[in-house]
Symmetry: D2
Subunit: 385 residues, 4 copies
């Protein structure tokens, strides 16, 4: 059986997923065959060029017809177009793989999740938090689930970029609340929240996030419109309506403490997503810019061991190259596509793909609680927003 | 002129300051001559042994007489004995060098600072935040003051230790609110708060901390009394009345954001005090466990430069060894003693020693705001507590 | 025009190059179209399975017919089959891309290079030293050529692995002089020698390697044959006839010094290839296990700057992902395939692909000099072997 | 009993040892009491100033009388004055502590060692290789002796500085063969050779160095005399008659391989002394610029563990500060002084201080073999020079 895939979005994420699908046959021969059938967008010229380059058989500017026709629908558009097409696809019984964050608002995330519930277990609805599929992160999860870190006391996550530190960096949809929902919080923070939930969210570890104190900041309030002459007095500008950075403090169900942070103003940091965990029996550290490595301290260790997670028995690594031959960022997409498509084809024993829309909604609830807490100046519980 | 020094406290800090004073003649010949005159404590036997080893001429169990007699009084006792002897000394016109945190409570810190104000500029009252005297930190301050990091956006400080992660680690005065004031917050957090104020507190940089959201946790509520048989059912225990860890979010006057954290439960970390700052033009990172190094990114740098701050023209380094011959933790005490004693002797052009009691109080106010915020579950301004 | 490619070898290197060719259309649209036409090998069953998985249209067990038919011939077999098919292809006017080291013996390397010379400039003969195509290495070369490191004084290269440290690790063709030529020296050392030549070999930098002192060691003389029961007394074993590790000292034309080293006995190191260079104006360091990074010190820098070489204007990076989205080991093959195939298609302005067979021969000459020096116990000049 | 100490040399090493002696009472109360009695030198003015600052009771320009009078004689002068006063002291039955390298020539080293042998076991003759006294190095030795690294295969040592990379850096005695013996080789290489011998020199580990191939280079042949106007045509210069850098390859008795290297031209490196060892069961790495750390891989470790060697049960650490409070370079002198003086006082159970003159001679023999090998262009055995 070959699955026909329709993909909405042909920029950064379109390329990342098209590449992932193209690489499955050689490296994940047990994943279902897929046909990159239709690429969906609005600008016909750009769409046509992208479809040729990314290996799609056809294009469409009408997502409504596409979600009915294909075996699987990938929603890789900007956040504000996540909800409607995804819901339509699910109502048509078409499995959906949606980029993160699930939606710009909690309300839309809830509607999407409700649609996924109604579509039922046979219609997978995945949320593409790709960092769950880094081998080092999977390896870390294995250690945590085996209890090697003991009782969890501290969780720390931060995601640092610097592409907006220049006040003349142009305005884009990512600076607009209507289109993006939020700024660093949704774009970067959603990744961190999902990783934290993935790694320590089980009842045996830290459990759910019970209470949150959030803090948001917009450092530059107006940005030049792309193409307008910056620096001149009458440069056209638009208002930034989202955060440039956020931080948060967390209290987990089991009593663990957490701190989160993300910024687009961390000068010198390009894609620096780090997770640190301290438990009663050990600690670990991960940094996305060195994604082949995991630092682990446990048992009788006196210091962190820097592990290159590229051995044959490390998660996913047997599909690739011998030990020490490092993987890149894009491999996370191959892994998540293999897993998601196997769920679509019913090839997974457990039947279920995670992270799903429920996970996307759970992350959204935390993000909303951070915003709410920032508004109110007090701690907020994500379960009651 | 030789200054006679009286020192209250002969344990960890007593040893650190006695060593510092002993090393001045060889390395800081421009510092005043000092005589380690009297060592003050309660346990005569231990006191006598310590006085011999630490090079003191005499001992006393009566601090009240000592503060009158000596030229300088060092208060290195536990936090709950900071206020009374320090105030008495200042009232007697004797300069005071007091260990941090200034006091277990904000009220006492205010009383001490008031005493210092009344004693006047000729009676220096220093608060021994020694990390201001790390060469790499001084070097960082120089960069910040020269504007090399531009406008400050983010400040991050954390201090990680792990000596209480074992629930059978015995109860000590550091676990008691009466004696210590607070736990990780006061012991470790006071250092971080002072460094943050030192580095970015000026009006041209981040300015004062305007608002704070704090979070405290005690992971282990009861600890065995030292010497009691741990693990047996009727082991004698005492209640832990202070925090094991804290975190905080900060909003600075200029709009910068901050996050703070400290813990005695960070498995594998012994004395890991790190400061990270992101400005519009650059970033820097410091870690106490590698205190000879500073990581700096600025100008056209694409990544952090790892600078070994041991060159001859680096702060204080000309007093020691050639480039690349690293210093240790204890050297910070030599530097602060040289500076403080020169202020006592009136040998400083600016006349003033910093950090002083005002700085100690300012830090205390931040710590209190963190506690208050944690109590109330909302943001608090340190200026209105 | 679509180039038909015939590939000899379907294991590790076959997979690496097939993957590279498969990825060209999406990421290097300016590279020529290629058809994976014929996969060549001896074991028909394994060959057929591999051809299916790696996307080849047909298979053949007869390389002699293939080298005539295809537009390009890739020789990815074990070292002892490099010479004959490559020479036959070149004689047929078919461009050849041959894996490293060029040949197991200097004599064969000379014959292959002679064949390449006779085939002429229109028939590219490339030697697949892929590490020249790491973005960070290209970036380093740019700095060196711009004179940013000044006069070169020291070059240091080492390549550490540990897969033979267990004396029960089975014998393979890589342990046999007939099949492999040499051990760590040829397999790992050839990479290091090529990188050193690439980076500092120009006349303006260190120039040619003039004199060499070499040292080889075989730590384990006998190894069990795969499948034989290890640990039992009558386990079948074979003699190891190559080196497990080598080291070398170099004297360059311009007076610079060098040290080289490789081992399969460096416990804990999987694929640790490092290059370090010190010049009068700066220094740099590279490690393959962190291949997205380059450490550089120059100009007024006081320490090494850790550069993440993933910016849009870094070599090859614009073809991939945004800054901070790291690449993996396999991307070096995509880069070298794009470059080589453009040379085959005549699409390169300079007309020439490097590293070519001349580079392969030059590296071979250095390796032979190391062996000769080890035999004779004295310094040897590579130019006179 | 108080030992009176006479010290020849009042510059860098004079200060380092005077400081060490001054710190013993507070931190090593079990070491003998010492009196800094006489400081010996030629320039009376400088000597007098130094004696005051370094705490000596008197000065002398006549070492011959001093070696008779004192209980212990420290020879901290330039290399060419090591032999005569040390031998005279030993002949007078006075214990000698001599800085490294033991002598500028092998011949003098042999004479000194012969004098030490004749003086007998009751007259300790120590050679001040202080890096044996770094806690992390002692800890490493403990691991090696316990067999935790298994059979030793590789040893790598290098010592990088950059203070001569500027061709206008002035000529000094360290550039003169008569006065210094050799350059980077003797000054830096002697430290590395001693550490290698200390760590793996026992019969159970790598054993003696059997064969050596050496390489020396002088990059700048003439240097300006200090004070002469550099850059002008008639600047007075002197010829550099020693090496600026050396490298060596080693073959050990047990079959292990080694590589050594040192340079005064390694731009950006100030005092970067690193040791790396690979054994069949583990590996370790040490760097002097991070001297509180040791990187260790052993047993089931998958990566190097970065150990902060500052725990109470680490070598010498109980004398200093709590865990995580790092030591500096100078502490190595305190440790070696404590050990040497206890040997002088007969307070050591084993009676013997190491490194002694035999160790100094053994290192000298290796250095000489490196020079000899460089001269002859072939491998040389240190035992037959």
């Amino acid at each position: 059986m070959t699955l026909s895939v329709g993909v909405l979005g042909y920029r950064f994420m379109g390329k990342a997923h098209a590449n992932a699908m193209a690489r499955l046959p050689m490296f994940f021969p047990d994943a279902p065959d897929v046909e990159r059938s239709v690429l969906v967008g609005r600008d016909e010229e750009a769409l046509s060029e992208a479809a040729g380059r990314l290996g799609f058989e056809s294009t469409s500017t009408d997502w409504e017809s596409v979600v009915d026709e294909v075996d699987v629908f990938y929603n890789l558009g900007p956040n504000h177009v996540h909800a409607e097409p995804s819901i339509a696809a699910l109502e048509a019984g078409t499995p959906v793989f949606c980029e993160k964050p699930l939606a710009p608002t909690l309300e839309e995330a809830e509607q999407m999740t409700e649609a996924a519930r109604e579509a039922g277990d046979d219609v997978p609805a995945g949320c593409a938090f790709n960092y769950r599929f880094v081998p080092a992160i999977r390896y870390a999860k294995g250690l945590l689930e085996a209890g090697e870190l003991g009782e969890i006391h501290h969780v720390r996550g931060r995601y640092l970029q610097d592409w907006l530190v220049d006040p003349d960096a142009p305005w884009s949809w990512r600076n607009d609340e209507e289109l993006a929902g939020s700024g660093a919080l949704g774009d970067l923070g959603s990744h961190t929240v999902d990783l934290v939930r993935f790694l320590v969210g089980s009842d045996e570890l830290a459990g759910e996030i019970e209470r949150i104190s959030g803090h948001l900041r917009t450092f530059v309030e107006e940005r030049p419109v792309e193409g307008s002459e910056s620096g001149v007095d009458d440069a056209e500008t638009r208002t930034v309506t989202v955060d440039d950075a956020y931080s948060a403090q967390l209290a987990f169900e089991n009593g663990a403490m957490g701190t989160l942070e993300a910024s687009r103003f961390a000068t010198g940091h390009k894609n620096d997503h780090t997770i640190e965990i301290h438990g009663s029996e050990g600690s670990l550290r991960f940094s996305l810019e060195r994604l082949n490595e995991l630092e682990v301290l446990r048992g009788d260790d006196r210091g962190y061991e820097t592990i290159l997670v590229t051995d044959e028995d490390d998660p996913y690594v047997d599909h690739w190259w011998p030990p020490g031959h490092v993987l890149g960022w894009e491999h996370t997409f191959v892994h998540e596509n293999a897993e998601f498509l196997r769920a679509v084809a019913g090839d997974r024993e457990d039947g279920e793909f995670r992270p799903n829309f429920e996970d996307g909604l759970a992350a959204q609830r935390v993000l909303s609680a951070i915003e709410e807490s920032d508004d109110r100046g007090e701690w907020v519980s994500p379960s009651v927003i």
